[in-house]
Symmetry: C2
Subunit: 83 residues, 2 copies
């Protein structure tokens, strides 16, 4: 089963990297860009018998290793077969 995990700085936390990217884009001529948040993305191939089992395992991974819950939020998207 394939899953996509996205980890972002929490909304209430300053995101200097996102701000720097926003400014670089605007300087590069993309003045339409209002705001950028910069995060990490993990595409994970996981052996699980059910979607519920995969989700439970991914949530533990996110909380223990992939994100820092004090300053980051994560999102899970579960797909099915690999391409």
């Amino acid at each position: 089963m394939r899953a996509k995990v996205t980890v972002y700085p929490r909304r209430e936390i300053l995101d200097p990297q996102g701000k720097a990217i926003r400014n670089a884009l605007r300087r590069g001529g993309f003045v339409e860009v209002a705001e950028v948040r910069a995060g990490k993305s993990f595409e994970i191939e996981i052996d699980a018998t059910s979607e519920a089992a995969a989700r439970e395992c991914l949530e533990r991974m996110c909380e223990q290793l992939l994100s820092n819950p004090i300053v980051e939020d994560y999102e899970l998207e579960l797909g099915s077969a690999p391409e």
Copy 2:
């Protein structure tokens, strides 16, 4: 308009960061993890009159600044209103 851009190393390119994360997860007890690809994620708030205009602008951004097309692929997801 809100968009989400994900930038990953191309499939045919080695991803040592993803491999290191996979190994760390497995050492941490998550033996269900078969493979990890590590990428970057950008959540972008963009002022555009239409979805087509936003997509065109985002594609140029990805090709010029957010990704390195030689070794990376990108994915665009266009949402609508910010939360």
